[in-house]
Subunit: 195 residues, 2 copies
């Protein structure tokens, strides 16, 4: 997605060979017009999948998901990163290990909002080691819903998250795939090239 | 705002005389079309205020803020509820006491995204005791920016947050004001009536 790649090149900060900071338009400050374009891209890609719910993770997944939900005319459910005050038996739960923070978080959703009749599209801002998406997939599995696929804003193609998802035969659409951050240079994978 | 009041009546759950749960369209599951209408209402109300940034708080403030930002064509910055891994001197910080959870959280934004040249609109999902909004106002003050006003999706008119804001002569727009939740009944304040 060209507008997204342009934003990454213009505003992204390469902090190391593995860390890209996009706080200025996605993770902290949010560019609403870019989010709208991102939502449209996801909607076009998954429009024939019969999606009935979008599932994402607070906080950075919310903006792109709400814009995709607007286009697909479906509700968005965001998983919380720590359990709420309600009873655990009202929740679907999964554990997510963060390689960056070296800690395990529990993510959860209420049992009220996704059912076995749903067709779920998972959306998240970043795909690196894939732990967050695997957690959302685990929650989807617990609901009994079908999984239409996974939509990612920025995939780090040099980490193994995408492989973990594709190995399960889950359709994956990443709007920008970064193949390398070596030497402070952002190298995108060309559309249509093999992973 | 009629569509919002209708959603509150249809989907809101009155848990006590002071607690209204709107998890089904605002706080956990999100209705993107309603968020779009909410964003338009905020944009119309604050369109002449010269807003250059919207400031909100993760996670439930993000969806209405991004929709307002789309209409006003300005970026959204969401404050985080705990400090990130970056150095504290790169952050504007405020403390927010939660009467519900009986705990104090530190909220913060990076110094990179709001400057003294900005005109800030604060948006949040709920206004009850006003502590979150006061924290966002404290952060805005630290940035040196002007404050255009505060936009709230649902105000609990029977708690004192609105008074705390109006006493500082800050323009406040709440899209729905609930005057009472007594006996499981939701009573809205009529538009135009005095608080």
């Amino acid at each position: 997605m060209k507008a997204l790649e342009n934003a990454i090149v213009k505003h992204g900060k390469v902090l190391s060979d593995t860390v890209l900071k996009v706080d200025s338009f996605l993770n902290h400050q949010i560019d609403p017009e870019l989010m709208q374009q991102i939502g449209e891209e996801f909607a076009v890609h998954f429009q024939k999948a019969g999606v009935t719910k979008i599932l994402t993770l607070e906080s950075s997944g919310i903006a792109p998901s709400v814009m995709a939900g607007l286009q697909l005319k479906v509700p968005v459910v965001f998983a919380r990163k720590k359990k709420s005050l309600t009873l655990k038996d009202e929740l679907y739960l999964a554990e997510v290990y963060s390689f960056t923070k070296k800690e395990t978080n529990e993510i959860s959703i209420s049992k009220d909002y996704i059912s076995s009749n749903d067709i779920v599209l998972i959306i998240d801002d970043f795909l690196a080691n894939g732990q967050a998406v695997l957690g959302l997939m685990e929650i989807t599995k617990q609901t009994g819903a079908s999984l239409a696929g996974v939509g990612i804003v920025i995939e780090k193609g040099f980490q193994n998250g995408a492989k973990l998802i594709r190995d399960k035969n889950i359709p994956l659409k990443s709007l920008a795939i970064i193949d390398s951050l070596a030497n402070g240079q952002i190298t995108f994978r060309k559309e249509g090239s093999l992973s």
